[in-house]
Subunit: 352 residues, 2 copies
């Protein structure tokens, strides 16, 4: 375990993308998104995934010189073809378009097809905050989750993120997978050799399991809280991909390059959906923000079960982590560090 500064890892990430042929401004953008995950403590979605993106490029499944374009639009909507590029690059542009449309007509909504994974949803949604807008971002992902009563992997962990600006307080950033547990939590349990709670995974035959390695044995993740989580994951799958023209359900191309996409795909790449809503399209932004402050105060002061365990506002731990890592840097575990060093050696980029 060793700590690196934001700048060290950002520079490295950007230079790796440039070595893969990505233009400078896209490489900076992609590094911004990946590093925002590390800074916020979502280690599974940050530089730990960098070599995964590079392998997709090497397998000719990610286009580092992608030229995304708007293929359809109305005053409040747009559909983007991401040209098989990285969601890390196209999703922030899609948010810019959503914000611009919200300035014009109150709200803006952009569906994206033909993309690859976009990192953490919160990065994209949070672009709305400086404009006094509510931000939204969702994406589908490699199928790992079985719908209720099935043992087949049909849905991704399909996160939903919505963010709300506050006045004196930090914004509310609700960003969550629609599966009971994200893959990152399984990996932590695997490393520590611990059992996982019931309700996270099932075996390949659909039996309940507490084995953190169940996915490697052909098992599947379970939706959050049963059939309601299945319904929420379905909403995300449809909004991001049936609406945009991307692949959905079992056809979503896997993030890992050693698994090939299925044949006869019904769409292009994976899909995202982002949105921005101008608060003063509903009520004055200052009123909204002062009531959000009041909402936060009420929830922070809700009666605790255990005096020592405070009630958490959605997004709060990630701000604490960002604060901590700005001071002390980003710790990389030995496996991730070695992976980055090997990647750097291969492409001729020094980590420090």
């Amino acid at each position: 375990m060793k700590n690196y500064t934001y700048l060290e890892l950002h520079t490295f990430t950007k230079d790796i993308f440039i070595k893969c042929g990505m233009p400078l401004d896209d490489a900076i953008q992609a590094a911004d998104v990946l590093l925002s995950a590390d800074m916020r403590g979502i280690d599974s979605h940050g530089v730990a995934r960098l070599s995964g993106y590079v392998r997709l490029y090497e397998a000719d499944r990610a286009n580092m010189k992608a030229q995304w374009k708007v293929i359809h639009q109305t005053p409040s909507t747009a559909t983007i073809d991401a040209d098989q590029g990285l969601g890390l690059v196209v999703a922030p542009h899609a948010m810019d378009i959503a914000i611009e449309k919200a300035k014009q007509v109150g709200t803006g909504w952009v569906a994206i097809q033909n993309s690859n994974h976009f990192g953490i949803a919160a990065y994209h949604a949070m672009k709305a905050l400086p404009h006094d807008m509510i931000g939204m971002a969702m994406t589908n992902a490699s199928p790992l989750v079985a719908p209720t009563h099935s043992k087949q992997r049909m849905l991704g962990t399909n996160p939903i993120c919505m963010v709300f600006p506050a006045g004196k307080h930090l914004p509310i950033v609700a960003d969550m997978a629609t599966s009971a547990a994200a893959n990152g939590k399984l990996e932590i349990a695997q490393r520590s050799g611990k059992e996982i709670p019931k309700g996270w995974v099932q075996t390949k035959d659909g039996q309940k399991s507490t084995d953190a390695n169940e996915l490697k044995k052909g098992g599947s993740l379970l939706p959050l809280g049963g059939h309601k989580g299945y319904a929420m994951a379905s909403i995300v799958d449809i909004m991001t991909s049936v609406l945009s023209g991307a692949n959905y359900g079992p056809w979503v191309p896997p993030f890992v390059s050693f698994l090939n996409p299925l044949e006869n795909l019904p769409g292009k790449g994976i899909g995202h959906f982002v949105g921005a809503m101008r608060i003063d399209a509903f009520r004055p932004a200052e009123d909204f923000k002062s009531h959000i402050d009041n909402w936060i105060d009420a929830f922070k002061n809700a009666e605790r079960i255990d005096e020592k365990q405070q009630v958490i506002i959605p997004g709060e731990p990630e701000f604490w982590m960002q604060n901590e890592r700005e001071k002390n840097g980003i710790p990389l575990n030995d496996l991730v560090e070695k992976d980055l060093l090997d990647l750097g050696d291969k492409l001729g980029v020094k980590l420090v």
Copy 2:
């Protein structure tokens, strides 16, 4: 247990509302919404609630002659003051406005303040379907759910509904509470004297419980799947009420008339949020609908755990129920039937 026809219960419900001073067209609309819940098998949200609405009226907390009005708007948004009327009446009008805005600029979004409960979210969202639009509806509700680490009731069961039109298949109707279990499920367990699964409720001290009567003892409902359900319920609370100017969190006025609203309320009534998105604002509607058919076929054919237990598409059981009740009528249990007969006696309306 006795069965009544749709028309018998619709006529009764409409006439009760008229006796409370509601104009005819509003009374028909309110009866449509309540009866749609009974027809779809959501018995907890149908005529079983009729006397609850009347008690709110008698307590001077619901305005049966309400004149809702749009108090702010942009091309894609509107905010409505419901004039303390029933959500049953104002929410369908709000959806009409959302649909009209979607026709003009691609999407339409309406926030509603100063309202009362709106019945099932699905009724409102489904108004989008004949227009080849995606429909959305959410509402907050009486505080019964404790946020993670708290023993205080701070959130309602806050449902989210999204609906998607299909081609040859029935539409997808995803409508779910963001709590682990809705109150209706507790009532079923109470009647049968059964224990409920862990994770549905906690005691007034925040301890886990399997007692179906825990709410009556000061306990609280738990959010769906822990902190993620808390975050989702928070999103609904903010979108419906902080954005519209309604009450939020612990201040949401209780549906039951024997509990008084808190003092110094930060907003007006309860809040809803509805929306409509024109599918051809993103891609041709026929393409979308044929891919929804393909999505449904894929999920219906997903490998089953138990050959006898099929995978369910969100909304499917409610269509089955509607089909069944169109043939055989709506069964009322003895308690609900007596409640309606008493109500009819009091207001001079015959049930049949």
